[in-house]
Symmetry: D2
Subunit: 245 residues, 4 copies
Amino acid sequence: MSIHVTVWNEFEHEKVDEKVRAIYPDGIHAVIAGYLNGLDGIEAGTATLDQAEHGLTQKTLDSTDVLVWWGHRAHDKVWDDIVERAHERVLDGMGLVALHASLLSKIFRRLMGTRCSLRWRMAGELERLWVIEPHHPIVEGIGEYIELPETEMYGERFDVPDPDKVIFISWFEGGEVFRSGITYTRGNGKIFYFRPGHETLPIYHNEQVLKVIGNACRWAAFGGSREIECFHGGKNIKEPLSPLG
Amino acid sequence: MSIHVTVWNEFEHEKVDEKVRAIYPDGIHAVIAGYLNGLDGIEAGTATLDQAEHGLTQKTLDSTDVLVWWGHRAHDKVWDDIVERAHERVLDGMGLVALHASLLSKIFRRLMGTRCSLRWRMAGELERLWVIEPHHPIVEGIGEYIELPETEMYGERFDVPDPDKVIFISWFEGGEVFRSGITYTRGNGKIFYFRPGHETLPIYHNEQVLKVIGNACRWAAFGGSREIECFHGGKNIKEPLSPLG
Amino acid sequence: MSIHVTVWNEFEHEKVDEKVRAIYPDGIHAVIAGYLNGLDGIEAGTATLDQAEHGLTQKTLDSTDVLVWWGHRAHDKVWDDIVERAHERVLDGMGLVALHASLLSKIFRRLMGTRCSLRWRMAGELERLWVIEPHHPIVEGIGEYIELPETEMYGERFDVPDPDKVIFISWFEGGEVFRSGITYTRGNGKIFYFRPGHETLPIYHNEQVLKVIGNACRWAAFGGSREIECFHGGKNIKEPLSPLG
Amino acid sequence: MSIHVTVWNEFEHEKVDEKVRAIYPDGIHAVIAGYLNGLDGIEAGTATLDQAEHGLTQKTLDSTDVLVWWGHRAHDKVWDDIVERAHERVLDGMGLVALHASLLSKIFRRLMGTRCSLRWRMAGELERLWVIEPHHPIVEGIGEYIELPETEMYGERFDVPDPDKVIFISWFEGGEVFRSGITYTRGNGKIFYFRPGHETLPIYHNEQVLKVIGNACRWAAFGGSREIECFHGGKNIKEPLSPLG
């Protein structure tokens, strides 16, 4: 039984910036979904901001096991009711893999409850992502670190809640560090934030970066109890399970 | 230097229900603030839903170190912009002590990013709150457990993110358990959720319950670095701290 | 590729106590291994205290993906060098599922670094294990709670480090609670402690208890990076990866 | 009421290495204790390996609120029964501040249950310790980062259990990162590991490093419940607290 992944991209830079188009002619989503579709046990589709309901209809989300999110300059254009819909689906068990600038997306910030603020610099510097949890399935097949020769820098203090697990910490040539791969659970949903990626750099053509995204999709798919009902608010249990004295 | 606490209460039950008024004639907030004002190093004021801006003006919140929150039937009446204001203040370092049904308040759910759903039963049953972290300042002066002879039951699955620390787990006569005292950090703010309390029961006259609330106010007050700026979004650090190759 | 499980049992009660023998004629290990061998993708063997090297030779441990441990009255009879050997293997990535009284075994206490002390009572009382993390693969197929009509009680304060995840919290008829299913990571090894089980009770014939143990074996098997070397002490990296100024 | 700190130092390098003696003529312990004794509310004594019982008699430990530990080349010379004694005291509520190479000390490894292995390089390179948790009392008075111009490098993967809080992450000029300030709770004891320090470098004359150590001593002192008994093993509670059916 396959894992159904939907790769969402705001898909704006690729249309207006020739440099971006040269790297991702069909959009970042196409590259990532293409990679995922080459893996056993994953079927990936795509969705973009300019589609009806941003391509995230209730039907699409209901059949999505893991949502990959890429947003950067158009966070505010995402309708609140679509964010609400995606949020509900995560709490019900849909996985979320949030990439790069998606740390400031509405969906990620709503799940975190914090500002997710950070420091950044665009200077094309070297990044080295160190593996902190070698035991974790997200780093299956990855060595001690991933080296990216040219990246945008993201630096701490990254204002997020304590992660369940810090999988990667990045070193940047210019002097900063960043928790670049972190996991969370919210409701029944598993969440992985992964830093690499920038529209003007071929990061999503890097085999190791793609491998981590593929691993993360497998990890984030729901695997718990389907016997336990998810509900809102308070559920009144009138009869005690054990007798009162 | 005193810790400034503001005890917020929706203050509705006390006005319409004679039984509640008999227990808390001046409101739950008055009882809690009264207790806190008897402690060394704490100065407590109050605020209620029916006041202008719910009593939570920017000025009041700016001078509040710890906000105690009690809401139950009027969560939806709290204006979103006041919730937003309180949320911002927590992220900037104001502590939050959320009591009883406040787990479904807007402010608590926004900070958690989850539904905070739970099971409940009103049958006046025995509750025993077991201390799970004896080392924690919130349980200073508390023994192995707190026993409350007559309470409303709250039961798991309580849909919240993994707490930083589980301080209390409750046992209920009717057969359920609940993580009744849990801590979080969000932004610079320290958060304590504490379950006991119901408007029709004299829970906030219980000395041990009050002691925990007092301890929690001391614990939740900001004590970290005032040298580090809190900001929104991304902060551009144009110059690298260390030279690029 | 199968997961190789070794079920270790001190196997003492079964030999000297007729009541225990009536429930587990071939030993607790035989019942658990029998169940596991009926699952797809798991091959289970057994080992006992009275075997040479307690049945845990280097060769056996090297080919074990997950070690299930059951000890109760003979913790002190386990040789320290076998404990050391098992400890090393856990840090290298072997999973460990520690059952019931094994919380006071040498191997579990060494991994925890704490006393693992607890309260207990043998009165054959009702236990209800509430699921706290419905999303977790260990509870796949399990409902809101597991009810065991007759158990030994274990009560908090259970002196263990904060778990990665609290999967189950138990309610006991006599008034206590217990974190009955908890996960840890130590080195590359995944650890699950699971409370149910007592030699004089048919707990390991309960289908739900067995299901959880099977799920836990699947979860605890190593799935991370085999590219990253595990080593002791300090590893000298003489050459900097990036040039020094 | 003062916090009683004992600063323990193996005190070997200072005796045999002129370069070390030039920086710490009376030993590293003397410098740290001297700083601490200048703070309000702290009284610091010292203890060293060459003293009877390494200066850590039962009486000394019983009156110590926080033990600061500095060891490097003589970990193996520390007697196991003194380690056991210190371990017991931590579990009973004594704080522990472990410095620099003490990550491989017996006491730290016993508390962690892991290898605490790491990568290292002695090349006198720049280190920048980024504050990850600005809200934490350990960083009171500290800015966004601490810069140390010349340090020994420690690099990930640092084989420790998930910390309660990651307070500092270090960036090293040569390309590595390290979780340089991490907190744990074990039993009733609070533990802080802090990386800076090397015998051939004047790190413990740095005002910010000292400030962090002072903050850590205040934080690590026990502040929880003295009403709850610490015990070993299982405590039999024969009578149920609530009646059995």
